[in-house]
């Protein structure tokens, strides 16, 4: 049974290929009402996957599929294989996937694809800037985007971009003092760039106590304080002793019985 020529794809380009329909079984339950475009494009994708055809038209087909369903795992992997097979520039690919980021901020595949591009390129000078913009974008309003922060951690560690990270984190905390991701990142930076000696910890504890003084019910700050003091007795740290003394002076504890 010959299929009719494609409506959404270029008919002349695809006249040598038969699309493969989705097989939901003979008696399917809960059929999803896909759009005509989706059915057509997926049909041709299945055909291309079957033939393992890594051509320019296959590449542009993957772009179509991603536009309709960015969560499809297969198409991303296949796209990467096409780019390798065609010997295309991964920097262009990185630019292309950057365009998609604002519309799909919580999509695992896009972030994973980004990471693959960077691995192929051995890093990119604009990557950190992209992440800076993404996390501080007012329209997106997603300063706690889990994928973005996880990606940032990888980028910084992989390409040794620790310098300037603390300054960025200060900026993030200015935008939102309760940003737990920023606090987590600060700990990450401290762990990797310092020896986490008592002196370092004390300095950080002093810093976080200042944050707590401004917003006493900031859960993230308290968690950070606790993390910094981990493994040591609290009386090791002068700032803590001072803060505790100040609290006792303001609000004396009840006398012992």
């Amino acid at each position: 049974m010959a299929a009719s020529p494609p409506i959404y794809l270029e008919a002349m380009e695809w006249d040598d290929t038969q699309p493969i329909p989705q097989d939901d079984g003979p008696d399917p339950v809960v059929l999803i009402n896909y759009s005509v475009e989706f059915v057509e494009v997926m049909g041709y994708l299945r055909a291309v996957l079957e033939k393992n055809e890594k051509s320019p038209r296959a590449l542009s087909l993957t772009e179509r599929v991603i536009g309709l369903n960015a969560a499809n795992y297969t198409v991303w992997g296949f796209r990467r294989e096409c780019i390798d097979a065609l010997g295309l520039d991964w920097a262009d690919e990185l630019l292309w996937v950057t365009e998609l980021a604002p519309d799909n901020p919580k999509n695992y595949q896009i972030w994973h694809h980004r990471r693959c591009c960077l691995k192929k390129l051995g890093g990119h000078p604009d990557e950190l800037e992209f992440l800076d913009d993404f996390l501080t974008d007012e329209d997106l309003d997603d300063g706690k985007n889990y994928h973005a922060w996880a990606h940032r951690q990888w980028v910084i560690k992989e390409y040794n971009l620790w310098e300037g990270e603390l300054a960025f984190l200060d900026r993030m905390l200015e935008l939102d003092a309760r940003n737990n991701s920023a606090y987590n990142q600060r700990f990450y930076v401290m762990k990797h760039t310092t020896d986490m000696s008592v002196a370092v910890r004390e300095r950080e504890i002093e810093w976080v106590l200042a944050q707590i003084a401004q917003i006493p019910n900031n859960d993230s700050a308290w968690a950070y304080l606790r993390g910094m003091a981990e493994g040591f007795s609290l009386s090791t740290f002068e700032p803590i002793k001072k803060a505790a003394a100040a609290l006792c002076a303001r609000d004396p504890p009840p006398p012992p019985p």
């Binding site: 008696d27 889990y146 996880a150 940003n179 993390g227």
Partner: protein, 288 residues
């Protein structure tokens, strides 16, 4: 390849009805069973073209939907064991598991592997090989677990890690629990904000009744019955479905996990009653 979420729709729906004890017509059950069985395994291996091409998470949801129904015949069960075992061997990278041939790896994948192989009785030494290193030092400074070492602690990912730990009966794994872990967990219960959060300083969400509540159940931590109120308030009037926060649009995902949370609360309440009765009996014995 089919729509990525399709297998999850199946799972959320059937799991929710299963927990609720709702009656489903045998016809629907049979149809679903047939469709899923036929589609998960095709040509002797895990189907490439359905449920997003051999993707572990989709496989997990499809299989566990099937497990909501009655048991299969021995022939089908054996077929599943062999085919899926081969698939699991294929996606194992050195010290952990990927989602698929091209995919990412994180606590979710590890948990899915253990859950699937345990249900199918194929959790072999080979599958577990080298993976215990995965737990070493993988928790975050505040006691929770994130997607990678030192990734921000997240409720659902912590659940996956904890649940994975239960599959290893080796006692030394309890060392991988941070001393602050219980505190981290309790901090996620936000009675004033009327819910449970997944990360510090984020908004509460009803699905964390399952993720955080689940950890409480596994570790026998506090899980107060008062959180039942969240379920009642997150239930939307018109559809009777559940949403993530009060007043939002309900969906299958939150319905499924809110019901799971309800089951957990029921379990905690029953356990509490049971122990109260025992203590009461003991006290009575002392008096008389």
């Amino acid at each position: 390849s089919g729509n990525q979420l399709q297998s999850w729709f199946y799972f959320w729906f059937f799991n929710a009805t299963d927990i609720n004890g709702k009656f489903l017509h045998q016809n629907i059950k049979n149809k679903t069973k047939k469709t899923l069985t036929r589609i998960i395994i095709r040509n002797g291996c895990v189907d490439k073209n359905f449920f997003s091409s051999e993707n572990l998470l989709s496989l997990y949801s499809a299989l566990f939907t099937l497990f909501c129904f009655e048991n299969f015949s021995l022939e089908i069960y054996r077929n599943f064991q062999i085919t899926i075992y081969n698939f699991l061997r294929k996606i194992k990278s050195q010290k952990t598991y990927r989602c698929s041939r091209f995919g990412e790896s994180d606590p979710r994948t590890f948990f899915c592997i253990l859950a699937i192989s345990s249900m199918l009785n194929i959790l072999t030494k080979n599958l577990k090989k080298n993976t215990p290193f995965y737990f070493q030092n993988s928790c975050n400074f505040d006691g929770g677990f994130g997607c990678e070492k030192m990734g921000e602690s997240h409720g659902a990912l912590t659940y996956c890690q904890l649940a994975s730990l239960t599959f290893f009966s080796d006692r030394k794994f309890s060392n991988h629990i941070h001393p602050n872990f219980e505190n981290w967990l309790i901090k996620k219960l936000k009675p004033f904000e009327f819910g449970i959060q997944g990360r510090l300083t984020k908004l509460p969400d009803s699905c964390y009744l399952f993720w955080i509540g689940g950890i409480s159940i596994i570790c026998c931590f506090l899980f107060p019955i008062e959180f039942l109120n969240i379920i009642l308030f997150c239930k939307e009037k018109k559809t009777q479905g559940f949403c993530d926060q009060i007043g939002k649009i309900p969906d299958l995902y939150h319905t499924c996990y809110s019901l799971c949370g309800l089951a957990f609360l029921n379990f905690t309440e029953k356990k509490l009653k049971f122990f109260k009765e025992i203590i009461l009996k003991k006290n009575k014995k002392k008096i008389f």
